[in-house]
Symmetry: C2
Subunit: 376 residues, 2 copies
């Protein structure tokens, strides 16, 4: 038996953070990067610059690699099927990944496996949208593109069909969804190997601002233990039923009436799991590598009672390396992560994690360090 | 203010492990590697292959970098002084590093600052050696080359002057030292910034086999708290008096009569601190980077009551990547570190760290995982 070799498609911060456990485990990554200076290309020696929508470029980087994994979910399904036919193992496979790529297919599949979900329907016209709204309590309603949305892009909350003009003119397939009356957003992550082994992470609370993850508290404070178990079990079931390999994040609404509903799926390391780098025995990045290489998974056990991760979203600070000194001076125990990206307004350019015993202090410290990297 | 840039001389596993926190902190390393495939060259994009004893090669890699640090202590002092004169900051500086390079100078300096040390003397002849032995309790005596020894190389325990033939024929400057009657070996590590800030790590027990570090237990079990404090204070004092920047390891003998004596100094991340990657809030590699870049230091607080690090020394296992699966299956919570080096008998090719509450179990688990990577 020889150990499988690995290619990673996409050079963002997720691939960059995979490189840290890859160095430890002695896994040589080969990377397809969107440009010579993107986040992961700065730290992976064996990288090729190319276009992940071009099968020739994909073949050039995958080469003789056994396993292919991803920084994002945007590689076309037919290209993954081609690579699979040529003897490579995309993990997750195209049959699973499609449910992270297409929200309408995901909703259908969630219904099939009985996963609690918001009411939803494909819509092709204003009358479809009006009919969907009328079948529930009327407007407001959520309209989403079925493909290509992220971080709040491709999502509209509409008070009438007229509000959905931008959506209808996007020329994309659309999905209407019930606007859920939720208390907060949760995220349940699991790692799953091709052999079926699954490890679930503690369920966390994810706080969004403008559709973008702003901060994550692990574990989710004051979460009903029964609901936490239900969320974990759901994530395990989704991973198993959909045959996901690698990390899966099930983003959830916790409704005001105490239920959980599936919001979105992500089949890769996820922003809501960054806390695990500094706060768990095995980080989501290490377990992603272990899972896609079919290695035994590591425990997700937290190393401290509380971990808070705060994103560094591009602000008025442009010299992050200098601001790093201020952040570390203010909070020496903060774990600062910078992605090697130029600062643009609102862009994810780094994150900070703080762990500890006192949740109030941990949150305050993480916010303080992140603020110094954002607006000084 | 702009953040300082960093070059690293030497492409071994210590430089490789610096790259992990460098990725997190957004520090771009430029590396001088001994060959294209050495351990750190596999994971640092910006590397130059060259000879660290050649000033031209050093200049080529240091270029416009502000700070220079090291994977090892073998860069000639005069080259470091030349780089310093040209406006770069070697950290540690040549005035400090010389005490890690030359054991005779180190002994003189330890005597000056009153650091408890074994009796020692420079020897140039058999009669010097006999006189040194006679001045103590007679033979056995330790003979060392003052420069270039490591991992038990360049060290002889001699029962008579005749036994020292290999030492005398080495054509190197020699030092005779009292053979200390020690209970065990300890290591006290500190990180120190140019601005003077110092952080001390818990004192650990280092267990050698054949002159090579085999395993490390953190913290040192059953260590008298007064002796632990004395060891920490000593390491802080050595770092301060010698103006060390970066990580310093003070390797110590704990004598059977309950004293500590300085054995050796290492001015870089050290094998006795590898446990901190997985067992402390701030690893020795992160604090080395923070220290040499004059960034605020992070806490050395352990994240678990016990951490045990066991070296993977080249054995009968040659396919480490395949053995990795066995080791992780046997001990899923083991943190496996492989250095990307070909297996040769006794060569340090990796290490395993296990953390936990039960020191007996932690030790057994770490040994088991390391054994599977060594002899299957």
């Amino acid at each position: 038996m020889t150990a499988p070799s690995l290619a990673v498609i996409g050079g963002g911060q997720l691939a960059r953070m995979m490189q840290q456990p890859a160095i430890a485990l002695g896994v040589d990554l080969r990377l397809l990067a969107e440009g010579p200076d993107v986040s992961a290309a700065q730290v992976v020696v064996d990288h090729v610059v190319g276009d992940y929508t071009d099968l020739h470029d994909l073949r050039a980087v995958v080469g003789d690699r056994d396993v292919v994994t991803f920084d994002h979910e945007h590689v076309p399904t037919q290209h993954l099927e081609a690579l699979q036919a040529e003897g490579h193992a995309p993990r997750p496979g195209p049959h699973a990944l499609v449910f992270a790529q297409d929200k309408a297919l995901m909703r259908d599949r969630m219904a099939e496996i009985g996963a609690p979900s918001p009411r939803s329907a494909r819509i092709a016209s204003v009358s479809d949208l009006d009919a969907f709204a009328a079948a529930g309590g009327g407007y407001p309603v959520v309209v989403k593109t079925t493909r290509g949305g992220y971080d709040g892009k491709g999502v509209w909350v509409v008070d009438s069909a007229a509000d959905a003009r931008e959506a209808f003119t996007s020329d994309r397939e659309l999905l209407a969804e019930e606007l859920v009356d939720f208390r907060r957003e949760l995220s349940a992550q699991v790692a799953r190997r091709p052999s079926g082994e699954v490890v679930a992470y503690p369920v966390v609370e994810s706080r969004q601002r403008g559709g973008v993850c702003a901060e994550v508290v692990a574990p989710a404070p004051d979460l009903d233990p029964a609901l936490e178990q239900q969320a974990r079990d759901l994530a395990v079931r989704v991973a198993t039923e959909l045959d996901v390999t690698g990390m899966l994040a099930v983003e959830l609404f916790e409704t005001v009436d105490g239920r959980i509903l599936v919001n979105e799926l992500a089949m890769r390391p996820h922003n809501t799991g960054h806390w695990s780098i500094d706060g768990a025995v095995t980080s989501q990045f290490e377990n992603h590598l272990r899972a896609v290489l079919d290695l035994p998974l590591g425990p997700s056990t937290p190393t401290a009672p509380w971990a808070v991760m705060v994103n560094v979203l591009g602000g008025s600070v442009t010299d992050l390396a200098s601001a790093r000194a201020e952040a570390l001076a203010a909070v020496p125990h903060a774990k600062v992560h910078l992605y090697g990206k130029a600062v643009k307004p609102g862009r994810k350019v780094g994150h900070v994690t703080v762990t500890g015993d006192d949740p109030i202090q941990v949150l305050a410290d993480a916010r303080r360090a992140a603020a110094l990297l954002t607006d000084g």
